[in-house]
Amino acid sequence: MAHFTKATSVKDWLNQRLAIETVEKVMMSEYWIPKNINFLWAMGMVLVVTFVLLLVSGIFLLMYYVPTVDEAFYSVNYTIMREVDFGWLWRHIHGVAASVVFLVIYIHMFTGIYYGSYKKGREMIWISGMLLFVAFSAEAFSGYMLPWGQMSYWAGMVITNLFSGGSLHADALVEWIRGDYVPAQAFLGRFFMLHVLLIPLAIVGLIGLHFAALRIPHVNNQDGEEIDFNAESKKYLDGDKAGSKVMRFANDFMSKDMMVVGIFLIFLFYLVFWNYSFALDPVNFDPADGLKTPEHIYPEWYFLWSYEILRPFNIDLGLVLFGFAQVIFVFLPFLDRSPNTCPANRRGTMFKVWFWLMLSNMIVLTAMGKLPPEGIFSTIGLVAAIVFVVQWIALPFITSREKKV
């Protein structure tokens, strides 16, 4: 048996059994963060806090939600919204946070692209992050089914139809996914399970992977500078805190992080209390009706850019390009052939243009996806979709010609 001595304190007792001091050092006080960062480095913690808000509000919604096609709509819109004390608060938090979490994810993603935080040993951070994006998308979609309103039903119809593969006519696959010829009880039941159990489990696991992927290569900094974390942390521990390029994760970095989180929470709860309607589509306040399509079907804002890549083409090409748009970001670390790890603006004209065009083009795609597919909007959408695809195809060529900075 291993040797244990009589504990001198509760901390010592735990330390002998769980090595809590070592864990605390590895995870917090001797997890070194560069000083040369800005508020955009706080988005990870903002996302953690938002995820916790979604989890807690979801737990309270789960207690009154009824996952049957006859009762789901009323359990949300009557029981939770009117009968349960503060039920509206949980629903508003859940709906608003589910929308805002994607805004923060996109900021987090484009921060990573701008500063080259997916390069040279940080590939797994990027890949696990993109897997989280996929998992969050699936979580958002499955959650959108649950109120069983008109948008729930028709979004469910359209998205499951994507799996017929266009001209492949895999209708049997679509019926298998739904468990019925159309979205009905079997469909609602399985998406309820996915939303409250399987996908959240996957998200928690992926968050663990995302953090673990960060621990060895460490966080990037504003100049993409390669830092000798051993030397710099030694300098810090030896007392030269001002001269060291790094600081402790806790409490140094966390104190700045939580400052940004505080500002974010004020913004989030302003939306929750006074401006929540953007997250609750009026069409979804009509109960699901399989015999009546709403006049305009559009996804939530965070899916609009990829929806707009699907829309202007015939079904097969549209599906291929839609699939391309869904997966292509994962491969960014391998498509970017440049030796440089530094901000996009310092990597030469080509990549600078690529970055800002990608960002603005995705905003254009988002805007066009919301507008009805007619006239000039159709044309702008088509051009923007083509530009998106061309940009990704051009990326390896642009970046392999990039000069070492």
């Binding site: 139809n161 010829y181 079997a186 399989g290 015999l291 079904i315």
Partner: protein, 176 residues
């Protein structure tokens, strides 16, 4: 050495047990997600075709899907003449001619709206259009409305059962 081969054997033995279990559970999981027998059994609808009026589009329901029933006027029939694609989709019951089709856009399954003035269908989701015989007049939909399996029984139409008229439509590629 002896130990190694024993460990190797144990590893392979466990691998075999695990493989059988994995395949078995995948089969069970797949089958659990299949449509239930009660869902499949409820898949028949009988329509009395004498009640429809010319030019009035009626939406019926079969397997939870909308079914468009449009009794065609003489004028529409005149337009269809010489258009083999439209003629092949015509369903004749007694002296009356019908368009009967699954009312879901073949693009991604939204329900197109009937426009009586234009006598056509417009899908709000992605702008697809269909004419009164169910053929595509504007993309993205890849093909005309699908025609549900039907059997003509006097003046009744039984949806979900395969009759000779529908079988020949399917064989000739008129519908899926």
């Amino acid at each position: 050495m002896e130990n190694n081969s024993r460990r190797g054997f144990m590893g392979k033995a466990f691998g075999a047990v695990a493989a059988v279990g994995a395949v078995g559970s995948l089969v069970a999981m797949k089958k659990t997600w299949d449509p239930l027998p009660s869902v499949k059994a409820a898949g028949f609808t009988t329509l009395d075709m004498t009640v429809y009026q010319e030019g009035v589009m009626v939406t019926e329901k079969w397997r939870g899907k909308p079914i468009f029933v449009l009794k065609k006027s003489a004028e529409v029939m005149e337009n269809e003449k010489g258009n083999p694609a439209a003629e092949a989709r015509n369903i004749k019951i007694g002296d009356d001619n019908f368009m009967v089709a699954i009312g879901l856009c073949t693009h991604l399954g939204c329900i197109p709206a009937f426009r009586p003035a234009e006598n056509d269908f417009l899908c709000a989701c992605h702008g697809g259009m269909f004419d009164a015989s169910g053929l595509v007049t504007k993309v993205p939909p890849p093909r005309g409305f699908d025609i549900p399996p039907f059997k003509i029984d006097g003046t009744n139409l039984i949806l979900g059962e395969v009759g000779p008229e529908w079988q020949s439509m399917k064989d000739n590629g008129v519908t899926l």
